[in-house]
């Protein structure tokens, strides 16, 4: 029995059930006409059936190995969690603090998280990356990155 596959199967079933529940609100077409709900309907059946097959086949599978168990105590998983959280905070702060400040703080912190300990290099590289990305996008590609509403931009 593979626990992970069963979990994925259940998620698949939930998604297909959700799609079915939404289809009721779709506008009715002419009788016999194929409308906006037709494709999602077929796809939801497909996803549901393949999820069920995955669940059933994992229940009867003799092997018990889960690919790589997902444990919150694993330092790798913790790192991913911290990286994701920092990225979310970075994105939240981007509008008000602006690209330059956010990136100058974010990059060294991420490098530290990934066990970089050469501090001088860290600061230097962070500065270089921030400047390069900002210059390429704003002057070369004419894409304005957030400058920071906090400073009145």
């Amino acid at each position: 029995m593979k626990r992970v596959d069963i979990i994925f199967g259940i998620i698949g079933l939930i998604i297909s059930a959700y799609v079915f529940s939404m289809l009721d609100s779709f506008p009715e077409g002419q009788p016999g006409e194929v409308g906006a709900d037709f494709f999602p309907y077929i796809l939801a059946i497909g996803l549901g059936v393949s999820s069920l097959v995955l669940i059933v086949s994992s229940v009867f599978k003799k092997t018990s190995e889960d690919a790589e168990p997902f444990k919150f105590s694993d330092t790798g998983i913790q790192r991913v969690g911290i990286a994701l959280a920092s990225t979310v905070i970075y994105c939240l702060a981007l509008d008000s603090l602006g690209f330059i400040v956010c990136t100058l703080v974010y990059l060294p912190l991420m490098m530290f998280l990934l066990k970089e300990r050469k501090y001088f290099q860290m600061v230097l590289v962070s500065g270089a990356i921030t400047a390069t990305v900002f210059l390429i996008f704003s002057s070369f590609l004419n894409i304005t990155l957030p400058l920071g509403t906090l400073y009145g931009y």
């Binding site: 939404m22 779709f26 194929v34 999602p40 497909g46 996803l47 990225t87 990934l114 066990k115 990155l145």
Partner: protein
């Protein structure tokens, strides 16, 4: 073929601005391709945002430069540190790494650049002459045939994408469901948009693929952080010797044609092409037992095959609008952003555009040869960049890339969301690329089926029984059944 128009298009590409972009794209592509863990798909995904604001010729030049460069780049780390930069380079390391252990890294690297050029150029040439013929045939397709073609494309891609076909099918359905988000192609009714205006046109393509292929990859890198010190071999010469070229040209020629052919089959990627080319060279060799111990033929065959594959994969993408693999799917998306819809109509109405693509592809391969020779020492140093520096930089590139599409934070959140999804899917051995291909082929299948049904007065049987449509559908079904049977047998 309209030679005059082709020469005009080539002249346009050979202006200094498109040329700079091609060289920049090639250099960027080689750099990302050579970094272990960064695949060609990810490279193209990360660099595509740089092409948005550019005029067509420059943008197309840069895109094709990135594409060609990234496939070659993988061989650098394969040869120098025994780690393929991209899956396509896995066959290159079989003989490439032993060569560099013998102190002949320079010989292997220069041969790999040369073979990549031969393969890439041959592939591009075959594409130039073959794809117009295919588009000619496809001009007779109506909506019903396109529905069949899209369905066939999906089935073949799902069936080769990973160890478990069931998981591939599941992810394929999920991707197709994601592709129905947004306004219905016929009635305009907004589906699954959760009331958000940002989803009216569906999840934006570039942020989605940055999420699936860049964010997901860096999350994986963050989890499996290893800090082994890499020893890079010394590079002696950067040009291949005449004797080596003479020794390998037959293998290169064969691999180039084989690679193009394999690339043109949707679903068969450059990694498969490289291994087929390699084993063909081994079979033909008088000393097959020496393969794996540092035979220059092995490097030449593998590299010319996987680069030829790029040209091959462009054939169905350009002439039918059906991408051959994940990278060409991204290219297709980027073309659409530039206002170009690949498919037979493109050949009929915008032949100059098609010729620009051909020219850019040919020039990109020449640029790859030049950048490869001149820059090999630089790229050899770049591959030792520590993950702790590289991954944060990719995070920033991904965020900015997702943002730059519409100057919109929503797209960044979308990319992050898809990144988390991709990370978990990958971690539990679900293939990710079916989602990307479903995003392209799903709307194609749905819109064409619905259009065909309107024409046929809602008679499903009339639509499905059209000869070409039925053939595609049966082929698709057969592909799935055959791969399920093959999987059972291998267990």
């Amino acid at each position: 073929m309209d030679i005059e128009l082709f020469i005009d298009a080539l002249g346009e590409i050979l202006q200094w601005k498109p040329l700079i972009m091609i060289f920049a794209g090639v250099a960027g592509g080689i750099l990302i391709g050579s970094l272990p863990g960064l695949t060609a798909t990810m490279g193209v995904a990360l660099l595509v945002p740089f092409t948005f604001g550019l005029p067509f010729n420059e943008s197309i030049g840069m895109l094709l430069g990135i594409f060609s460069g990234s496939v070659y780049g993988g061989s650098i780390s394969a040869i120098l540190i025994n780690t393929p930069g991209t899956p396509a380079a896995a066959a290159t390391l079989l003989d490439g790494y032993p060569l560099s252990q013998k102190g002949e890294a320079g010989r292997a690297l220069s041969m790999s650049v040369f073979a990549s050029f031969v393969g890439g150029f041959t592939g591009a040439l075959i594409m130039t002459f073959l794809s117009p013929q295919i588009s000619q045939f496809a001009l007779e397709f109506s909506a019903a045939e396109y529905f069949g073609l899209a369905t066939f494309g999906l089935s073949i891609i799902i069936s080769v994408s990973g160890k478990s076909i069931l998981k591939g099918i599941m992810v394929g359905f999920l991707g197709l469901l994601i592709s129905t988000i947004g306004m219905d192609p016929v009635s305009g009714y907004p589906r699954f948009t959760f009331g958000s205006m940002n989803l009216f046109e569906g999840p934006a393509f570039i942020p989605t693929l940055i999420g699936l292929f860049a964010f997901a990859e860096v999350f994986k890198g963050v989890e499996q952080l290893t800090s082994t010190k890499q020893v890079v071999s010394k590079i002696n010469s950067v040009f291949p010797s005449f004797a080596d070229i003479k020794r390998t040209w037959k293998d290169m020629a064969k691999s180039s044609v084989l690679g193009t052919f394999i690339g043109s089959i949707p679903g068969a990627g450059s990694d498969i092409a490289a291994f087929v080319g390699y084993s063909e060279a081994k079979r033909r060799s008088k000393t097959p037992e020496k393969f794996g111990t540092g035979q220059i033929e092995g490097v030449a065959a593998a590299e010319s095959a996987n680069n030829a594959c790029s040209g091959g994969a462009m054939i169905p993408m350009l002439s039918l609008g059906v991408p051959g693999d994940a990278v060409t799917a991204i290219l297709l998306g980027a073309f659409v952003i530039q206002g170009i819809q690949p498919g037979p109509m493109l050949y009929k109405e915008d032949l100059d555009v098609v010729y620009s693509v051909f020219s850019a592809m040919l020039v990109a391969n020449i640029a790859m040869l030049i950048v490869g020779f001149l820059g090999v020492r630089f790229f050899a140093r770049a591959i030792t960049v520590r993950k702790s520096i590289l991954l944060p930089a990719i995070f920033i590139m991904s965020i900015v890339g997702a943002y730059s599409m519409r100057n919109n934070m929503f797209d960044v959140w979308l990319a992050l969301g898809f990144g988390v999804l991709g990370y978990f899917l990958q971690r539990y051995r679900f293939p990710v690329s079916p989602i990307l291909l479903a995003l392209i082929l799903g709307p194609m299948a749905e819109a064409n089926l619905r259009r065909a049904l309107i024409i046929a007065d809602n008679s499903m049987i009339d639509v499905l029984s059209r000869p070409i449509t039925a053939t595609f559908l049966i082929l698709g079904l057969a592909t799935l059944v055959m791969s399920i049977l093959r999987q059972r047998r291998s267990k």
